[in-house]
């Protein structure tokens, strides 16, 4: 028995927007009978380019039907650019979460949306192979879908990957390849995390990051000794702080300033940072 949320049960039992849109502006179908689930999504745009009508037909289990219903509710009123931002995770969150073996139902929703938007923009029928190479032949999962599944859903094991995008859930022949792909992507994600400084940042993002580093990496140590630190100003690479509590007037506060505060900020934000104390 599945532990479905009330919202999943509600959207399964009384799905919204079932059926077909007459003369749709975009339509897309993903999945198949053989795969065990399929979703056809149609939409119509109003004169401002917003989705005014969206309908679906789904072959699948309760969570597939609920995910489809949720998707239509989420996209109505949005522009295509806004709708495109919706991830499978957003669909699952809208439903209050899905059992992990059912995450692929929300992925099907996200893909149907992509397919319908592609159809609107190109007039062509979307197929998975358009921008990906099929890795799992049982379920036709492409490398692109796998990458998206891993990045959106924090997938770390092949089992989670199968739950998310079905890859590897059939004969299992592709599992070694999936393991290799999973490792490559998780390594990439790890490497991206390691060097946030290379990303261009707005001033606001930079200040947030500095605050974040101070909160996470500096403050706990100072507080242990009864001290604290306040961020006063950030002027390009000059970060001004004021010591508080036991730290203010502490004989070694200059060392703390350079060896702890500045070192952490150099490491996590930018090599160029210089920290100055405001008395």
């Amino acid at each position: 028995m599945w532990d479905y949320t009330d919202k999943v049960n509600e959207h399964f039992r009384n799905p919204h927007n079932v059926g077909k849109v007459e003369n749709p502006d975009g339509e897309g179908q993903v999945g198949s009978l053989a795969c065990g689930d399929a979703l056809k999504l149609m939409f119509k745009l109003d004169k401002d380019g917003r989705i005014s009508e969206a309908k679906f037909q789904t072959f699948g289990c309760a969570s597939a039907i609920a995910s489809s219903s949720a998707l239509t509710e989420m996209i109505i009123g949005k522009t295509l650019e806004e709708a495109e931002q919706i991830t499978n995770k957003d669909i699952a969150n809208y439903l209050g979460g899905l059992p992990k073996q059912k995450v692929h139902c929300s992925v099907m929703g996200r893909e149907a949306l992509e397919a319908a938007i592609y159809n609107y923009r190109t007039g062509k029928t979307w197929s998975k192979e358009i921008d990906g190479e099929v890795i799992c032949h049982c379920f036709g999962t492409t490398d692109k879908e796998i990458e998206e599944a891993v990045r959106t859903n924090d997938v770390t094991t092949v089992e989670d990957l199968t739950n998310t995008c079905k890859a590897g859930g059939g004969c299992g022949n592709c599992i070694p390849e999936l393991e290799a792909i999973l490792k490559r992507i998780t390594d990439e994600i790890e490497a991206e995390k390691q060097k946030p400084l290379h990303k261009p940042m707005t001033n606001l993002q930079r200040i947030h990051l500095i605050e974040d580093v101070i909160d996470r990496e500096v403050r706990p140590a100072l507080r242990q000794d009864g001290g604290d630190l306040e961020l006063i100003d950030v002027d390009s690479n000059i970060v001004k702080v004021r010591f508080r509590g036991a730290c203010s007037g502490c004989a070694v506060s200059t060392i703390t300033l350079k060896d702890v505060v500045e070192a952490r900020l150099k490491e996590n934000v930018s090599e160029e940072i210089v920290v100055e104390e405001v008395k």
């Binding site: 065990g36 789904t58 289990c61 073996q101 859930g169």
Partner: protein, 384 residues
């Protein structure tokens, strides 16, 4: 809302008589049957009565051929692992592609330890490929384990014919009789069957008790070591109340066999015909000529089993499905896949399994509700 329970191949209602017979062993007669004193030792005779009751239902000539276990799965493990490991030379393990996991599990366990394993195909009706079996049994002594009746489709395999082939080439034949015992008449003493597994909770005894018939002369290596109980085949103080319950349940099942094969079968047939005529695009999975009297497995084109099941559940109807979605795997039932059920239908199968406790009203309830559900889900389906 009244519960309409038509999932008796999953588990069955505990018979009132069985429950009542167990109570004394949960209250006053709680002694250890191995004790030397009268208080404990007096319990032993009830175990032996139960052994006789089980032997009588399956037609074993000697009650000592019955070993009590904790469940059908343990019986299968003891027969297959214990049977294979007790043979002089490692046997060729032969089974089918449609076995319950409690049989395929120990078979794969043996394969991982170097035993040769062959899994026989079935045809589109779920009938066994006996030609390949003949070819395989010739290739050296086998331990062959083929179910008597399939849990999902109810299809009955020709166990006498299989056993004869296995014996002709010196092999040992085990059959998983968990779904067959109590539903069809049997007489193992006159059949070429060396071991047969059965489970209590499939025949109105409680969960947590089973038995394995081991023909006199067949050796098994015990899985549970450390005690003389069950003649050394299964150590551990006997689960007296449950064994007593299983014994009585077997006696009752014997008395109910006629009802099972007449009234229950007639209800199953009415249910099946009613569904096929009221739901277009529905089909029976499995050979309806060789089938348990209580089971029907029906596929509905273009809709998915879990969705059907949950909508039945909303109306108090308990059934089960071979759909992938319901099990949490991505592949539908291995039984339906082995039968090559078409892609349009394989994800939309529902099993209804009746028992002597079902009534005509239960059949009416399913026949009233199911067509509405099928129509509703077809409205949602992009393939209709």
């Amino acid at each position: 809302m009244k519960t309409v329970y038509v999932d008796n191949n999953a588990t069955t209602q505990l018979a009132d008589e069985v429950r009542d017979a167990m109570i004394p062993f949960l209250t006053d007669l709680w002694g250890n049957p191995s004790s030397m004193h009268t208080f404990g030792g007096q319990v032993k005779k009830y175990i032996e009565t139960a052994r006789e009751q089980v032997a009588a239902l399956i037609g074993a000539s000697d009650p000592q051929e019955i070993t009590f276990t904790s469940c059908g799965s343990e019986s299968n493990n003891l027969a297959i692992r214990g049977g294979a490991e007790a043979m002089d030379k490692p046997p060729h393990v032969i089974t089918s592609k449609v076995e319950h996991a409690a049989v395929s599990g120990p078979c794969h366990y043996l394969e991982d330890r170097g035993f040769r394993l062959t899994k026989l195909d079935v045809d589109a009706l779920g009938d066994l490929d006996t030609g390949t079996l003949l070819h395989e049994v010739k290739a050296g002594k086998s331990l062959t384990s083929i179910m008597w009746a399939n849990n999902e489709t109810g299809v009955i395999f020709p166990v006498s014919q299989i056993g004869e082939l296995v014996h002709e080439y010196g092999g040992i034949f085990h059959t998983d009789g968990v779904q067959a015992v109590g539903k069809i008449p049997m007489n193992v003493s006159e059949m070429p069957i060396d071991m047969l597994s059965l489970s209590g909770h499939k025949l109105h005894a409680p969960k947590g008790v089973g038995a394995l018939y081991i023909r006199r002369g067949i050796k098994v290596k015990p899985l549970v070591l450390g005690g003389h109980q069950e003649r050394g085949r299964r150590a551990g103080t006997e689960n007296v109340p449950y064994i007593v319950g299983l014994g009585l349940a077997c006696e009752l099942a014997g008395k109910n066999l006629a009802d099972e094969n007449s009234r229950v079968k007639a209800m199953r047939d009415r249910l099946e015909k009613g569904i096929l005529s009221s739901c277009p695009g529905s089909r029976i999975n499995g050979d309806s000529l060789h089938r348990l009297p209580n089971t029907t497995n029906i596929s509905f084109d273009f809709i998915e089993g879990e969705a059907i099941l949950l909508m039945l559940d909303d109306r108090g109807i308990c059934a089960s499905t071979g759909s992938a979605c319901a099990s949490g795997s991505l592949e539908p039932s291995h039984v339906l896949r082995a039968m090559n059920v078409p892609g349009t239908a394989v994800h939309g199968s529902i099993r209804f399994s009746l028992s002597t406790y079902n009534t005509e009203e239960d059949v009416d309830a399913v026949l009233t509700e199911l067509p509405k559900i099928v129509t509703r889900l077809r409205e949602l389906s992009p393939f209709v």
